[in-house]
């Protein structure tokens, strides 16, 4: 039968059909057709995975460690995760009952949402934010409720804004600090205010801390360590950013046993377990990866200093990010909107940045520049953006 006469759409579930496609898809397609593009649009480390970690995975492969592991993940890895979480984030978890190894934070977030949300439940999350939060919530037939964050607050959630959006149907508050795309971070006072809000409204807090190790200010204990919070917090983290292991797809969740157990039900039927070779690599990273991790963090920090200074000197104001590897300059001084700025910059100067609107409507007026790219590229990109801005 001629495909064009068959409407496949009738087979697509309504809630999937109505999911918007990622706002940067068209932009991405154009970038891919161009040569000699300097991309500040890449949200993954430019470092190779440290050799000792790759070597551990190769060793595991040679040894034939290629079978399934426990659904929850190899217990040795879970023990290493809990030790790491305790030493680095002040979170205390039992490796046997309060930790699950997942295929990246993406899977952890997906199975957590599926584990906790009934149709019609509401989840508060802050914008601008990573592109998958709202769709992940929507896929469970629940309702994502965006709360704006503002440049004037350095993109930290304002409790007053949260209070406006919370309803009796609100079940959870999703946090992502250090933040993609803004580089914002939380102080201990911010965390206390958010914890107080969550307790007051009896909400579960989901804290996606994938960029936590890439902090450039002294780190404070995780929100789960605050009084009354461990029992209502699920921490999500993984190997991708801090250890430059994006393609390994290895993440984890730590939280109260009943929630981890519910996540585990979904995980065992859908994923079975995280890849065993990636688990072997993660074990090595957590146990012996601190030195290489710190080297990368220092390099990101220095690039941050260079790119923030460079952009501010061009009149594209951005605050000094506290973590992650993004800056989020305001481009309103050019008189352009985010998409036009990104598209014209790409066409005229072959520099790719991501329009702020990809991260929510309140990203209008901003673009995201990633500094997970080599310093000479950052410097060349700033030079070209300077020429571009001068013509406006």
């Amino acid at each position: 039968m001629n495909d064009s006469k068959l409407s496949h759409n009738k087979w697509i579930a309504d809630h999937i059909a109505s999911l918007p496609k990622s706002g940067i898809r068209d932009f991405f397609d154009i970038v891919c057709t161009m040569d000699e593009v300097i991309s500040l649009g890449i949200g993954e480390p430019d470092f190779d995975t440290p050799w000792h970690i790759r070597e551990a995975s190769i060793y595991a492969l040679n040894k034939g460690y290629t079978s399934y592991t426990s659904n929850l993940g190899d217990l040795r890895l879970r023990k290493a995760i809990c030790k790491y979480v305790e030493e680095n984030f002040n979170g205390s978890y039992d490796p046997v009952s309060e930790c699950i190894v997942t295929v990246g934070v993406s899977e952890a977030l997906d199975i957590l949402m599926r584990a906790i949300l009934n149709p019609g439940d509401e989840v508060l999350y802050h914008e601008p934010c990573y592109v998958s939060y709202a769709p992940t919530i929507r896929m469970t037939h629940a309702i994502p409720v965006a709360v704006q964050t503002y440049e004037k607050d350095d993109f930290v959630l304002d409790i007053a804004e949260l209070e406006k959006k919370v309803t009796p149907k609100t079940k959870a508050l999703l946090l992502n600090y250090p933040n993609n795309p803004t580089g914002a971070g939380l102080t201990i006072e911010d965390k206390k205010r958010l914890a107080d809000f969550a307790i007051r409204h009896d909400l579960l807090v989901i804290s996606d801390e994938i960029y936590e190790e890439l902090s450039y200010v002294p780190r404070s204990p995780c929100i789960a360590s605050l009084p009354g919070m461990k029992e209502r917090t699920v921490l999500l983290n993984g190997m991708s950013k801090a250890f430059a292991m994006t393609g390994f797809r290895l993440g984890y969740a730590c939280g109260p046993h009943p929630i981890i157990d519910a996540m585990m039900k979904i995980h065992q039927y859908s994923m079975l377990c995280a890849p065993s070779l990636a688990q072997a690599a993660a074990l090595e990273a957590l146990q012996n990866g601190a030195v290489e991790r710190e080297k990368m963090r220092v390099e990101y920090e220095q690039r941050r200093n260079v790119i923030v200074k460079g952009l501010n000197e061009l009149g594209l104001n951005c605050f000094m990010p506290r973590g992650a590897f993004y800056v989020f300059p305001c481009i309103r001084s050019t008189g352009m909107n985010s998409m036009d700025f990104a598209m014209t910059l790409l066409k005229e100067k072959h520099v790719a940045v991501v329009p702020g609107t990809a991260f929510g409507p309140c990203g209008e007026g901003f673009v995201r520049c990633s500094y997970a790219t080599a310093m000479d590229e950052i410097e060349e990109a700033i030079r070209r953006i300077g020429e571009f801005v001068a013509k406006r």
Binding site: S22, I24, F27, F28, V31, C32, V37, S39, G41, I42, G43, E44, D46, D48, Y130, V131, S132, Q302, R303, N305, V306, K309, G310, A352, V354, A358, F359, M375, E379
Partner: protein, 164 residues
């Protein structure tokens, strides 16, 4: 930034790449160019930094023959290995010299125009020195890594151009 920290950071950058400009280091560290220049001057003056060199490929050194030489020394009263070691290190043929633990005492790297040149240096100058008990010469055949730099470049993996 505190002066002591700045010194440490500048040193760490220069050890990675001695060609970093003062401006780039200043931007990286959030300091001024003047502060960085002053720090470099101080590091040089106090002889924390004693020189700058380039790391070059095997091909660039194809007209040279290099050897690692293990030297066993008879230590002297009071000065130990130092007198002999410093005397040996004075020869321009000796590119590097370390006192090491283990079966022998000094590890020298020696450079010459040819195999014969190195051999005659070892036999004529080195082995015959007072205090040198014995030596073993290992000619270097191929360089894989020097000063933290690996020579066989891995093919750079192309990342996706946009990742949210």
């Amino acid at each position: 930034m505190e002066k002591k920290t700045l010194k440490k950071e500048v040193l760490s950058l220069l050890k990675r790449n001695a060609r970093f400009s003062a401006k780039e280091m200043a931007d990286r560290l959030g300091a001024s160019e003047g502060e960085v220049l002053a720090t470099i001057a101080e590091l040089e003056k106090e002889r924390t930094i004693v020189g700058y060199t380039a790391i070059v490929s095997d091909e660039a050194e194809s007209n040279e023959v290099r050897a690692i030489i293990e030297v066993a020394i008879q230590p002297e009263r009071d000065t130990g290995f130092d007198n002999v070691a410093e005397r040996l290190a004075r020869f321009p043929e000796v590119r590097s010299a370390y006192l090491v633990s283990g079966k022998y005492d000094l590890r020298l790297e020696v450079v010459g125009d040819s195999l014969q040149a190195v051999a005659s240096f070892v036999a004529g100058k080195l082995a015959s020195q007072d205090g040198v008990k014995s030596c073993a010469t290992y000619f270097l055949l191929k360089k894989y890594k020097e000063s933290g730099v690996q020579f066989a470049r891995e093919e750079k993996h192309e990342r996706l151009k946009i990742v949210p």
